[in-house]
């Protein structure tokens, strides 16, 4: 197998510029690896090899021109491949959202995050698998296929960005875009042993991201380490006029510092007791606490804190997210796009198309949301949830008056076997219990590997920061990754 797929993003960019290899060679190496492993992993819904190779040839021409005359414009990531979760629009490429109701839907425009990557010269190898409409924690809710964890193909990669996480872990692409509404970048990053960032809500444009929970959805990045993830984050983040919820705050120019001399002396890291829940896999707790002592060795002050409303986060989320989803998915009615189940009566087209083409998890959440918003129940359910959300957000605001970062495990267990939670939706929802609070508060969070359990499955940890504090998250993770090797391990594929 080609050594090119073992390179980090920085090594790829350097190699392309020096002419050690061409973008075509690099892209072909990834496509060959995808060809070899896809039947085992099912990380993708749609592959775009022809498009990728055409873009690679174009990039090679740009490099050739640039080497002759360095004044020629060279996009910063020209010819570098990336995989995109199949809930983000790529113009002219099928976008299914993991659902049959968008089976042959082809978007006429690029999502802003995708547009920014294309402008940077990146090429897209394919659209990765996702739980249907990003609703799920295992990628088993995809209407097309289940993605398999590269570390153990009998287990889930996590979800809903399971395809993207598996693709990066298995070296099918050096980086990938995912989305995180209740943990869908962080949890699969943790299950697959990669580094995943969920930026602050509003930091990355949601234009072109198929909406699930509009007050929660965030576009995120998955990569091998903080350096690679930060590189892509910087390209996609920033205000977008096309997204009215996009934060109008500039992205500070930052570079990750390699120096280790007491590199974290300034930082106070809070560890909330509420995140070490009963029933948590002991190896997860051990690995996280070991990572925390590593942070102390780097000079950070680690201290216990309390986020008292943590236990309410799950029920709050499973009222707010489905409520927002019920509104956002009302548009899938068989009229303007997607397949239509015919009938003579309008209402029937809606009911039959939706009944037939939407999966059971999606229907379950739509009904939950519809109920929570309906007359007589709105105040008790949705209204109350929005108020408790404030209390959860206040917990974070108050904590950040005393600490710079909050550290916690990402998931109660390592990757679970395929099929384990399918009969019991609530048990699946409980997988999200540690990632949901940051989503409700809108704060940024990064998940990165801190060890392996005795079955060789990756264990992740998360750092949460104040709103717009992505730099601290990347720098702290980078400092950790300079003195540890967890992120360098590869699955035996």
């Amino acid at each position: 197998m080609s050594k090119l797929v073992e390179l980090t993003l920085s090594q790829i960019i350097a190699g392309l510029r020096k002419g050690d290899f061409s973008s075509c060679e690099l892209t072909q190496a990834y496509l060959a690896r995808i060809d070899h492993l896809e039947s085992q992993l099912h990380a993708f819904i749609t592959l775009t090899p022809d498009l990728a190779l055409a873009q690679a040839e174009h990039a090679d021409q740009q490099y050739a021109a640039w080497r002759v005359d360095s004044n020629v414009t060279l996009p910063p990531l020209a010819g570098v491949p990336i995989a995109i979760k199949d809930v983000l629009s790529v113009a002219g490429v099928r976008c299914t959202c993991g659902s049959k109701i968008l089976e042959d839907f082809v978007p006429p425009y690029n999502a802003t995050s995708v547009e920014r990557l294309l402008e940077s010269g990146m090429l897209i190898v394919g659209k990765t698998n996702t739980d249907e409409f990003a609703m799920g924690s295992s990628t088993e809710n995809s209407a097309y296929r289940t993605t398999h964890n590269p570390w153990d193909v009998n287990r889930v990669p996590g979800g809903s960005s399971g395809g993207s996480a598996a693709a990066v872990a298995a070296r099918l692409a050096p980086v990938a875009l995912g989305t995180d509404t209740g943990g869908s970048v962080r949890q699969p990053a943790s299950f697959c042993g990669v580094t995943g960032i969920k930026p602050t809500y509003g930091r990355v444009s949601r234009y072109g991201l198929v909406a699930f929970g509009s007050s929660l959805d965030v576009v995120g990045v998955l990569g091998h380490d903080a350096v690679d993830s930060a590189c892509i984050y910087k390209l996609i983040a920033g205000h977008d006029q096309l997204d009215s919820t996009s934060a109008d705050r500039p992205i500070p120019e930052f570079k990750l510092v390699d120096s280790l001399q007491n590199s974290l002396t300034r930082f106070r890291i809070g560890v909330p007791d509420e995140y070490f829940i009963p029933g948590m896999q002991p190896e997860v707790e051990t690995a996280v606490r070991k990572a925390l002592s590593e942070f102390e060795n780097l000079g950070a002050e680690v201290m216990p804190i309390s986020l008292p409303h943590t236990k309410h986060a799950l029920p709050v989320y499973y009222l707010i997210a489905p409520a927002e989803a019920s509104a956002n998915l009302a548009r899938y009615d068989g009229i303007r796009y997607g397949p239509r189940v015919q009938s003579d009566r309008m209402w029937d087209i809606y009911s039959r198309t939706r009944g037939d083409k939407l999966g059971s998890e999606v229907k379950r959440r739509i009904m939950l949301g519809t109920y929570a918003l309906s007359t007589g129940y709105y105040d008790a359910y949705y209204g109350q949830a929005q108020k408790v959300r404030t209390l959860i957000k206040n917990d974070f605001d108050q904590a950040f008056e005393n600490v710079d970062l909050i550290a916690a495990p990402v998931t109660p267990t390592t990757a679970f076997p395929i099929g384990e939670h399918l009969d019991d939706p609530l048990s699946m929802y409980l997988e999200d219990v540690l990632t949901i609070p940051a989503s409700l508060a809108g704060v940024p969070a990064i998940s990165f590997p801190v060890g392996f359990d005795k079955q060789g499955l990756p264990i992740g940890m998360q750092l949460m920061g104040p709103q717009f504090g992505e730099e601290i998250l990347f720098q702290t993770t980078h400092s950790f990754q300079l003195v540890t090797n967890w992120h360098l391990s590869k699955p035996k594929l």
Binding site: H312, M367, Y371, Y381, K387, T390, P425, L440
Partner: protein, 95 residues
């Protein structure tokens, strides 16, 4: 709390979801379990607490009122299941 079958049917109708009798029973159980869990929020004291509809500070999202070109009918009709003369074709809405 337990939902009745009638309540499940009513929710499905509001959401325009045609579901089978088996689905109805299954959703009745599952939704009841989830709502039971969620209703614990009723115990939380939220007196004097404002809701958080959005985690970002309120700001105006308006742009200046200047005309711009749109995507055009061709692009917008491309994915439609039933098109006639640049329009989406549907059965009668009013009987």
């Amino acid at each position: 709390m337990t939902l009745t079958l009638e309540e499940v049917e009513h929710i499905a109708e509001l959401a325009r979801l045609k579901i089978s009798p088996q689905e109805k029973n299954r959703y009745r159980e599952q939704l009841s379990e989830i709502l039971e869990y969620a209703s614990r929020l009723g115990d939380v004291d939220t007196s004097g607490v404002d809701p958080t509809p959005s985690v970002l500070p309120d700001r105006s999202a308006f742009r200046s009122d200047e005309p711009r070109s749109g995507m055009g009918a061709k692009a917008l009709l491309f994915n439609a299941p039933d098109v006639e003369k640049d329009q989406f074709r549907v059965p009668p809405v009013l009987e």
